[in-house]
Symmetry: C2
Subunit: 207 residues, 2 copies
Amino acid sequence: MVAVAQEPLTERGRRSRERIIEAAAAAVAERGAGGCSLDQVLEAAGASKSQLYHYFADKDDLVRAVIARRVGETLDCQGPMLSELDSFADIRRWFDWLIAQNEKLGCPGCPLGTLANELADRDETARVDLAGGFDTWMSYVIEGLARMQARGELVEQADPQRLGHAVFASLQGGLLLSKTTKVPQYLRDALDASYAHLLSFAPPGPS
Amino acid sequence: MVAVAQEPLTERGRRSRERIIEAAAAAVAERGAGGCSLDQVLEAAGASKSQLYHYFADKDDLVRAVIARRVGETLDCQGPMLSELDSFADIRRWFDWLIAQNEKLGCPGCPLGTLANELADRDETARVDLAGGFDTWMSYVIEGLARMQARGELVEQADPQRLGHAVFASLQGGLLLSKTTKVPQYLRDALDASYAHLLSFAPPGPS
DNA sequence: GGACAAGTGGACTAGGTGGTCCACTCCTAG
DNA sequence: CTAGGAGTGGACCACCTAGTCCACTTGTCC
């Protein structure tokens, strides 16, 4: 029997574990997974070493919990907007929300994208978790596009999957360029182009 | 007079400095700027601490030299292909080269993009250097699109700058998705969509 | 109230980190 | 040949890191 990280068995333990993940998520967002220390996390969480190692096997395990948390947050936040995505107007509304958020928060980049870039070639488990997060996130859009196609809002030749991939690449790339240059316009240009591309698959209108 | 990193004054010194940057570039590519230690770099370079601190003020200064090196490499490598960019065929050729490279190298992501993602919010100088690199890189494409527009290969309404930004977002995003999922197809989907979007600005043909 | 497990505090360790320092070699100019 | 600065080797330091360990508290069940 190998000693593995333990799930908390009491309400008190559950809250301690949550506090640690929360503080770790903040620290990772600010300094990256490799750049933040457990001591910093624990001080912010008001917890001790023994608590950390009571709930997590090691630092990588904690980082994985942070990833799961971030993936969950992202899907919880955008899921409602995306799961009912059903028209060009819905897509435009989503894009405009992304652009507004990015500008409002000062071009922080994508939490998932940032983690992916740091961890993809250093922690295989983290990479798979993040790839899964991207995949689920993208699937909302792909399914929305498929619904639009079924309803005749997209021509037959459109490939919802490839279009969804392209939309996400534009989003991630736009966020990275904005973050690097601190110029929000890059994301706008990226998503505007992506939207125009999607529109080109609208069936010829009666106008 | 503040003591600052010194440029080597002899050929021998220049070669030492080069060796250190080369080893540092490799280490940074493999483990990230924050994840590689000076001891590792120096061992790989066959150099000593005193050499490092003879040529660089501190670790950040070395990282900045690595960034300058990578920016230079990227522009040197793609510059020839991009500075004469003049037609849709040239763009397609560039895209295909990017896709092929990405697949051949096992989806390593963009060296500049990876550094940008790690350093953008941790080292302001590095951020500005990387933003400048992106900017120069992008300007090749924007100027190419402007040439195409001047020659009538792009309609008047096309905005070369915004199109260039969108192309780069697709590239960076596609590289990140490929790196995270280890699936080269994401970059292909991203660039195919970007290319189709560009093509939509071709003037109506005689066909 | 006592037994027992979950949860906690925090001192401690072993190894690594960036950075300093100084004695030394190498090279060149005169 | 010699002087002096550029270049080099590597011991050394203070600090920080992830991770260990054990005595202790808290809460619950009988």
